[in-house]
């Protein structure tokens, strides 16, 4: 008891003394923070310069853009950090664009707050405590600029066991997690013409940028900061046309950060170092955006091919599970019409249906071209990157399924649809069916269609329209042919009760479509969103049932309950799909996110006895080096693949909360704290102790070494 009390007191003292009040520099509260209260001699850990800014004020990135200056720290004499910490010493979070004068002056920086982590190595001979003292210089601007100076200091105690400062560690972790990571694929930059520096990222790594809007932030000033960067992103990698500043010479490489903004607003940063070449990168969008006129002949040849592909793709769209049921309805109408020998109506229907499809595709093309001109790259399939749209589509598919099953009637029954062909309203019905078929096809854009859509990404607007319309024509073609070749329609079967059965049958592909969409939703927004959607679906089904069967004295109650259930069932899952963000899931769910198991000495013994290898990651959410290693190395597919190939199981020992077994293991290996990485070769009982800082190359080397043993 006494011991606990003393320890608590010590922790409190450490917390109090390590916790300096933030200094008010004028428009920012500035503080030097550390991930540890107590550190080990020789340990490398993260400190950070932490700033909270007054509203509307901002500070700058390592390259401030056209005006402004980045923050730096000047240390007092004899600091283990040298004279000053600046520029590349810091891990800079992804900057924002700060337009000062639209199209003329652009700055790069941060508003609200900035946490700037940097590494420090505690001297091996440090005892007692170590003090970091200096002055942080930074320029802070709103419409005017003020250079502010803030004295910063921090004391870290030196001890035999690491003591985290959880609040500060969390802040530093968040800054490191949002910091750009090195882009792993190939990147080159070439002068496309005198005004354009084209930055190309090879397909493969760059494919994950598909559907995102890119912005390049240079470390130097080779480009005009304030001008737009036209871009192509897709199956051929990514290509940005950067407006070259002719005053600035090009070095050996173009270095900087690419910010990729997903349709849902999520931003990811990639550190780019593109060597300067004079030939485009093979397999990328080799031609600059502006130079379209030069490639006219090649374009026209490809355009015909693309049109053919698009037509075929449109035909295939008809077989997609989400379109097929819609078409069935249409087919039923035609069967009815054909049986009555109404050829003229049949033709009118075919035409109106085609019009419906084509206009929908034209609208999609228009939306695409409009978004492209705003710098947003977007194609049919990328709609599915928004969880909210996936949720709406899944719910829609479910409702359509219910309708096909006959649970409720909307827009008239089959017989009515057939009969409608005799009156004038029928053409509107045919038009609507065409529009519905085209819309329903959107989520089902298969790889076939995707190819032709991807190819028009950087085409001029008229070509985009042409390709989209060909796609639509392809989709409408079967019905067009049916309604115009007189003999053909007569071969259609006679209408009858089988039609209702076929309709009901098609409810099941619809439910399967909904299920497939749930898979997507689960990946995007987590299992919670899926559960909410399923619950919503149940509510909706109940609501429909209640409304349909409401009767007698309970009728008003049933009606209200049904309506409430309908509204709730429709809105609840959609609101959760919007707010749930998979990146918000805590990092403690570490083991679950990639295929790892929790560590225990018994599990290691078991695995090594089976002749398998084991890798153990001793980690904690408050350990920044651990998180950095996880990001740069332990989540990389190539590293994980190498482990799997070498028959090595990945175990995680999570030291986030105190754990005597883990503490014992750390002590035994002579490591008083995390991170610690152990690698057991297949069947070996004694592990290799890996360094504290990992890299993919090092991991692969170590894995190859234990494998060779």
């Amino acid at each position: 008891m006494m011991r606990v009390l003393i320890m608590a007191l010590m922790a409190l003292c450490a917390a109090l003394s390590a916790r300096a009040e933030p200094y008010d520099g004028g428009h920012a509260r500035v503080e030097l923070i550390s991930e540890r209260q107590v550190a080990l001699p020789g340990e490398t850990l993260y400190l950070a310069l932490d700033k909270t800014l007054d509203p509307d004020w901002h500070v700058y990135w390592r390259n401030a853009g056209d005006a402004g200056l980045p923050p730096e720290i000047f240390w007092e004499d004899d600091s283990p950090l040298g004279e000053r910490t600046r520029d590349a010493d810091f891990t800079w979070p992804l900057p924002k664009l700060l337009p000062v004068v639209e199209g003329e002056i652009m700055d790069y920086g941060y508003d609200d707050a900035l946490t700037l982590p940097f590494q420090v190595t505690i001297p091996e001979d440090a005892v007692g405590s170590i003090r970091f003292q200096g002055v942080a210089d930074y320029l802070i601007c709103k419409d005017i600029c003020i250079p502010e100076t803030a004295p910063v200091s921090l004391t870290i105690f030196i001890g035999e066991a690491q003591e985290p400062n959880l609040a500060h560690a969390e802040k530093i972790a968040a800054a490191l997690a949002s910091a750009p990571v090195p882009f792993e694929g190939e990147a080159v930059a070439m002068l496309a013409d005198e005004e354009t520096l084209q930055l190309s990222l090879a397909p493969g790594e760059a494919t994950r940028l598909d559907g995102q809007t890119l912005r390049f932030f240079p470390y130097e000033n080779e480009i005009f900061h304030a001008l737009a960067q036209s871009q192509s992103v897709g199956a051929n990698g990514a290509s940005l046309n950067l407006p070259k500043d002719p005053r600035e010479p090009l070095g050996e490489a173009l270095a900087g950060v690419i910010a990729a903004t997903a349709p849902d607003g999520t931003r990811t940063g990639y550190i780019i170092r593109a060597s300067i070449t004079d030939a485009p990168l093979a397999g990328t969008y080799g031609t600059p955006f502006r130079g379209q006129s030069g490639a006219a002949s090649r374009t026209s040849v490809n355009l015909l091919l693309l049109a053919g592909l698009a037509l075929l793709g449109g035909l295939v769209l008809n077989l997609m599970p989400c379109v097929l049921p819609v078409l069935t309805i249409k087919a039923m109408g035609m069967v009815s019409a054909a049986s009555k020998g109404e050829d003229a109506h049949l033709r009118a229907h075919g035409l109106w249906y085609t019009a419906g499809v084509l206009i929908s595709f034209a609208a999609l093309a228009a939306a695409f071209v409009a978004l492209r001109s705003m710098g947003e790259f977007w194609a049919l399939g990328s709609l599915l990157q928004y969880p909210i749209i996936v949720a709406v589509l899944a719910m829609g598919a479910f409702l359509l399924g219910l309708w096909l099953l006959g649970m409720f009637e909307a827009g008239g029954s089959l017989q009515n649809l057939g009969a409608a062909s005799a009156n004038r309203g029928g053409v509107i019905g045919a038009f609507a069916t065409g529009a519905l078929a085209a819309t329903a096809g959107a989520p089902c854009v298969g790889p076939f269609v995707g190819a032709s859509l991807g190819a028009v990404l950087e085409r001029p607007a008229p070509e985009v329209f042409f390709i989209y319309l060909m796609l639509g024509l392809g989709q409408a073609l079967p019905f067009l042919v049916l309604s115009f070749v007189p003999g053909l329609a007569r071969h259609l079967p006679k209408p009858g009760a089988w039609m209702e059965r076929v309709k009901q049958f098609f409810a099941f592909p619809m439910f399967l479509s909904a299920a497939a969409l749930l898979f997507v939703l689960g990946d995007q927004a987590g299992t919670g969103a899926v559960a909410w959607l399923v619950m919503g679906a149940a509510l909706v089904a109940f609501g429909i049932w209640a409304l349909k069967t409401a009767g007698g004295r309970l009728k008003p109650i049933a009606m209200v309950a049904g309506a409430l259930a309908l509204i709730g069932g429709l809105s609840l899952p959609l609101s959760t799909a919007r707010t749930l963000d998979p990146s918000e899931t805590s990092s403690t769910a570490y083991a679950a996110r990639y295929e790892t198991e929790p560590w225990s000495p018994e599990r290691v013994a078991e695995l090594t006895a089976e002749g398998r290898g084991v890798f153990v990651d001793f980690t904690a959410t408050w350990c920044m080096i651990c998180q950095a290693n996880k990001r740069t190395t332990l989540t990389k597919p190539d590293v994980l693949a190498a482990m799997e190939a070498a028959n090595i199981t990945f175990l995680v020992a999570d030291f986030t909360n105190k754990d005597p077994v883990i503490a014992e293991e750390l002590k035994q290996r002579g490591r008083p704290g995390v991170p610690m990485y152990l690698l057991y070769g297949p069947g070996q009982h004694e592990p290799a102790l890996l360094p504290q800082t990992l890299s993919p190359a090092l991991m692969k080397r170590e894995i190859a070494a234990v494998r060779a043993d």
């Binding site: 056209d66 005006a67 003329e104 601007c141 003020i146 304030a226 005053r247 206009i359 004038r424 607007a461």
Partner: protein, 214 residues
């Protein structure tokens, strides 16, 4: 024509409008001029703090220095205030060598650094500055013609009207006066080279400072 047909035509018209709008939007694109060292410096005419109208062409045959300024900007104050009075020294040296020094204020009315003619003259007197003229470029036209982005932002124009230097006043981008003695004074160095009939070693650099308050 019934209601449904009207709806249909309306829908088609909307689709066409969308299409045309998108096509127009995709073709419209802005361009910014890039001023390259060695190219002809853009001509300009401006009103000075003493009420004169002057043009760049008035100084043909003379070497001209352009200095963008904003007296409240800390980076400008770095070079005017303190023990070094770096900017004033350079102006005086230029006077002695018959170099025309034009100080230009491109701050828009109501923005930081905007001054009346009287205030501009008062600033020149109180700071001991020695420009040949102070040009009040309220519209920002001259600033934009030179792509002036910061205060200070410096330009040197040769007697033949070509641009010989553009960029920062010196090599250490900071607002700290103590950095002045250790910095390489780009404008001074370029003027020395030009006087000796040589090309400046650094003929272009990245200007640093506050943004010009257009």
């Amino acid at each position: 024509m019934n209601k449904q047909n009207l709806l249909l035509i309306g829908g088609m018209a909307a689709a066409v409008c969308l299409t045309v709008g998108a096509m127009i939007a995709s073709t419209a694109q802005g361009e910014t001029p890039a001023l390259v060292t060695g190219a002809e410096a853009p001509g300009f005419t401006g009103l000075t703090s003493t009420g004169e109208t002057i043009s760049l062409s008035d100084f043909a045959g003379q070497r001209v220095v352009l200095e963008w300024t904003n007296h409240d900007c800390p980076f400008v104050r770095k070079h005017y205030d303190g023990e070094h009075t770096n900017m004033q020294s350079q102006q005086l040296a230029a006077n002695a060598e018959d170099i025309v020094w034009l100080t230009i204020i491109s701050s828009a009315p109501g923005k930081q650094g905007h001054v009346t003619p009287d205030m501009a003259n008062e600033l020149t007197t109180s700071r001991g500055a020695a420009p040949d003229h102070v040009i009040l470029d309220e519209s920002g036209d001259i600033g934009r013609a030179y792509d002036a982005k910061t205060t200070p932002h410096m330009y040197i124009i040769e007697p033949d009207g070509t641009l010989a230097y553009q960029g920062a006043i010196d090599s250490i981008p900071s607002a700290r006066t103590r950095d002045i003695p250790t910095a390489l004074q780009y404008v001074n160095a370029a003027l020395d080279s030009l006087a000796a009939g040589e090309e400046p070693e650094v003929d272009s650099s990245k200007a640093y400072g506050c943004s010009v308050k257009y």
